[in-house]
């Protein structure tokens, strides 16, 4: 594949839980350096898309291909090895941070690089310290997560993902569990990552943030992509009635 190929291409992703078809058929294309905001009502399947890309869920059907890797066909015969290979291309930042409470901030960050990627510990620590300094948490390296505010924990969560040097960063509603006054510090970090041309998919309800940071907004509803395009178009002048209703509701909640 040439560099002009997308970093990731997903086609016809399907996923059901019990009898409930959460993803009907999702196509997604993400270019290197692109920031994609995934928006939509709750239950629309956006988090499930993210989880499928990271291998946290195995789709029932469809394909996912990262540049330079095989196109993994999630038919009934998909191998576990293939499904796991996906995971190493991306890293997830969780809504509820999911930091390891028994480890210090630094240990949280170097766990993946040292124990999984087998990088030299000293090098991993140097990287981690640099990343922590960048998000303003250099002095927290030896603290445990429960001593940190939600915003600080989420910044550690972001650093933990960055330390793996993944091709793609996935954010699952990264500010939804935060007190309102802490949202800004996390969004600022994400914005800086966007400026550094990290490729990111962000599930978010922060439409103003999506409009500012995203190169593309994908609006999902009922397990399908209703429309996608430039944030100004999708969020200001949506083509579809469903998108318009959703945007209106978020902008004028009362």
């Amino acid at each position: 594949m040439s560099p002009a190929d997308p970093l990731l291409r997903a086609t016809a992703l399907q996923k059901s839980f019990g009898g409930n078809q959460v993803l009907k058929s999702i196509d997604l294309r993400i270019d290197s350096g692109q920031v994609v905001a995934l928006v939509g009502p709750s239950g629309s399947g956006k988090t499930t898309v993210l989880r499928c890309l990271n291998g946290l869920e195995t789709p029932d059907g469809g394909t996912v291909a990262f540049r330079g890797g095989p196109a993994i066909d999630f038919g009934p015969k998909v191998s576990k090895k293939d499904a796991l290979a996906l995971r190493d291309r991306s890293a997830m930042v969780f809504q509820t941070y999911n930091l390891f409470p028994h480890m210090t901030v630094l240990e949280n960050v170097i766990e993946g690089p040292v124990k999984v990627q087998k990088r030299p510990r000293r090098e991993a620590i140097a990287d981690a310290e640099r990343l922590l300094a960048r998000v303003g948490l250099a002095d927290k390296r030896d603290d445990h997560p429960f001593n940190l505010s939600g915003g600080q924990q989420q910044r550690v969560g972001i650093v933990r993902a960055l330390a793996l040097q993944p091709d793609l960063l996935l954010f699952d509603e990264p500010t939804s569990a935060l007190d309102p006054e802490l949202v800004g510090e996390v969004l600022t970090v994400i914005k800086e990552l966007a400026e550094e041309k990290w490729t990111m998919v962000i599930v978010t309800h922060e439409l103003a943030f999506a409009r500012e940071v995203a190169d593309e907004v994908v609006f999902m509803d009922g397990g399908v992509v209703v429309e996608h395009g430039h944030p100004d178009q999708v969020l200001r002048a949506p083509h579809h009635e469903r998108t318009r209703r959703f945007v209106d509701r978020l902008l004028n909640p009362f």
Binding site: N54, G55, L56, R87, D88, A91, M92, F94, T96, N98, L99, F100, P101, H102, M103, E111, G112, K115, V116, Q117, H144, F146, R160, A161, L164
Partner: protein
């Protein structure tokens, strides 16, 4: 009060406690815990056959008296041509028994760790085994210390049953001294007191361990 008897019987009993009761309990607990982890993992493996075997094991162990288990191994097996000495018999019986109880404790402790911790392990590239070892078990350990301490303290006292298969532990010493001196009340109360002190020490150890494991957990 027969102070001479109290003093002369103290050392054999204490020595039986230190050289038999405690080592027997420690060895059985260590082995039992290992087996318990295997059984707990079988139980939560999602494999119907493994899970059923684990459930059956726990059911049999919990559903039959420890004394019967001990007698089956020591007095029963020889009729099948398998003769095991008192000490190994006791260790086998006690560890199999502890495993049945501890397996349920470990299973509950592992399941008490939030699912997000497994997912965090997954997203940083860990296998399930590595996540279990590095992320889940350290957190499950904290939850399981109080109930496992209970199990261990029960085990220390249950080792007195080994006197019935001729292991020279604390209570066997007590029985011998009691029948020799005919001072049953005094000697058995003394034995009880020694067991009690052992358990007090263990409880202190439990508190210290809990404190240590609590350091990093928000309460």
């Amino acid at each position: 009060m027969d102070w001479d008897l109290l003093r002369s019987s103290f050392w054999p009993m204490l020595s039986g406690g230190l050289t038999a009761t405690i080592p027997l309990a420690l060895a059985s607990f260590a082995l039992g815990l290992l087996l318990a982890l295997v059984i707990a993992l079988m139980r939560i493996s999602g494999q119907p056959v493994l899970s059923a075997i684990a459930r059956f094991y726990v059911s049999v162990i919990r559903g039959t008296p420890l004394l019967v288990q001990l007698f089956v191994i020591f007095y029963g097996l020889p009729s099948l041509g398998v003769t095991i000495d008192p000490w190994p018999s006791a260790i086998i019986a006690f560890s199999l028994n502890v495993a049945g109880y501890a397996a349920e404790i470990l299973r509950a402790a592992i399941l008490s760790v939030p699912k997000g911790q497994w997912e965090a392990g997954h997203t940083i590239g860990m296998s399930r085994a590595l996540t279990l070892r590095r992320v889940i078990l350290p957190q499950a350990a904290r939850v399981s210390v109080p109930p496992l301490s209970n199990t261990f303290i029960s085990l220390v006292k249950d080792t007195s049953l080994a006197s019935l298969i001729l292991v020279g532990e604390l209570f066997r010493e007590a029985q011998q001294i009691a029948s020799f001196s005919q001072q049953f009340m005094l000697v058995y109360m003394e034995a009880a007191a020694i067991y009690w002190v052992f358990c007090l020490v263990l409880s202190t150890g439990q508190s210290a361990l809990e404190k240590r494991l609590d350091r990093y957990v928000a309460r």
